[in-house]
């Protein structure tokens, strides 16, 4: 679990967060919603410590995760490298080796299997589809030992089928035997988010630093969505399935 209290952050003079409290529960898929430019990516960067929050008195940052992995939208990939070699890149960080040893190869194969790319391991990465490439990138995260994935619009450019495949995979990773992986996603498609997410963080437009966060059933109310996006929504709840439609 990550728990941030009294988060303050500004870019130059523009206040992005003011005394905001943020919580990311373990073992759930968390979705961050909000219009463009309210600070969704900023929030993730504060969590990875790429950006530094203002050090105020009440500020506290509590983190139970071992390691995080941040994945941007449209990450670039090298050419002429097989998926297997692409993933093995992670292991060159330490030591002076020229080749992977057997146990490391085994780990790469396991990660490929976990992201359902095992049959594509000899294919060059540039020939993977957008969805498969993001899966390969997530396998990089798995190999690096991360137990928290921060996916910055990582599924936004995908067609419906690939999006659903990724969510099914993320759901599986939550219950991985050797330690589950919690995911946090920034998304724009509210319906898909409502379908797959369990915990929601909404960042409000115009009211800087105001954050709404709740579990799914409490989060999707007309009032919350209007506060976040500034327009009216119609919400239908069919046996626990939530459908959201914007009204003008």
């Amino acid at each position: 679990m990550i728990k941030i209290e009294e988060l303050n952050f500004k870019y130059n003079d523009e206040i992005i967060f003011e005394n905001a409290d943020v919580e990311i529960p373990s073992g759930k898929i968390t979705v961050i919603l909000g219009p463009n430019g309210v600070g969704k990516t900023t929030l993730l960067k504060i969590i990875t410590k790429s950006l530094k929050a203002q050090a105020t008195k009440g500020f506290s940052f509590q983190n139970d995760f071992k390691k995080m992995f941040y994945l941007p939208q449209n990450a670039s990939c090298p050419t002429g490298v097989s998926t297997f070699d692409y993933l093995s890149t992670v292991f060159f960080k330490n030591g002076w080796k020229w080749f992977l040893n057997e146990s490391e190869k085994e780990l790469v194969n396991k990660a490929l299997y976990e992201v359902e790319l095992f049959d594509k391991k000899d294919l060059n990465v540039e020939n993977l589809s957008a969805g498969e490439l993001q899966k390969a990138n997530m396998a990089l995260g798995l190999l690096s030992g991360a137990d928290l994935f921060l996916l910055d619009e990582a599924v936004s450019n995908m067609d419906l089928i690939n999006e659903i495949k990724i969510f099914n995979m993320l759901n599986k990773l939550l219950y991985k035997e050797d330690g589950g992986v919690t995911s946090v996603l920034i998304m724009h498609d509210i319906n898909t988010a409502a379908n797959f997410g369990e915990y929601f963080i909404g960042i409000k437009k115009g009211k800087k630093g105001k954050i709404v966060q709740a579990r799914k059933d409490e989060f999707f109310t007309k009032e919350n969505l209007k506060e976040i996006y500034g327009i009216d929504f119609e919400i239908t709840n069919l046996n626990g399935k939530i459908y959201v439609q914007a009204v003008g």
Binding site: F69, Y70, A75, G80, F92, A146
Partner: protein, 313 residues
Amino acid sequence: MKKKGLIFLILFSGFILSLLLSLFFGLEEPFRGDSALILSMIRIPAVLKAIVAGSCLALSGMMLQTISKNPLADPYLTGLSSGAGLGIVLSILLFNGINYSIFGFLGALISACLVISLSGFSKFSITKLILIGLSLNLFASSVISFLILLNPDKAYSMTLILTGGFSSADISNKTLCLLFVILLFICALFIPKLNILRLDSRLVFQNEQGANKFNILFVILSAFLTSLAVYSAGILGFAGIICPLLVRLLLGSDARILFFGNILAGSTLLLIANFISNNLIYPMQIPLGVVVAIIGAPFFVFFLVKKGGAILK
């Protein structure tokens, strides 16, 4: 995998062929009929310098292209070569020849640091990098030209540095080989780390601030390589940009494979260029840089047009 093996075989046989060609053919007039003397006095030193300069430029270009994630980065365009050249020219003027390579290295290192820090270390802006490198390149070359004008007595050795040519350094073969082997060994130690830099730099693996550390390391290594190249063959453009790109087109982006590919391709290019520059309009010598560009450009453009989409996207 099979295809890569075949390409390696072609590169290797190309290298051997050009090596034999430059060792055993040529139009130099024999000194008193003694062809062994030609071999040891003229051809072997030239061949050694071609191999050293070619491999160093290609490796340095490959490192710069990988760390900047920009196919345009090379020792010439980023101003490294001219910086090293300026360092060497200054040492010719001030110290009468000793410590060539130390000054060359300092020059290359200072220009590398200047260019890379000015264009933003982790967030490279392509335009900025090229413009700053180009300015530095022009600045250093102009200072060299100016120094040549001021010192007509040492003009010849300094001009050779500026236009490229193998006779500029009177270093013994042994020292050159020793330096080269040491450098290659250091490169071989670090080369697998270059693979890490092929990942998108925006990916964050928290608790590891590794990438930046390796950036600096490879900048220093490429400065070393460039200074040795400039030291043995003067300032040569183009070799450092086409070899890494061509090899990457053919062999993919695994730094461990590219390492050998670049050594072979770089040496072959300079060996052939050296042979042509010595023998095409004998007894005149065409400046090496001119030959490299004339044979390199068409070849390179051909490959780029045919299958360049992959690396330029």
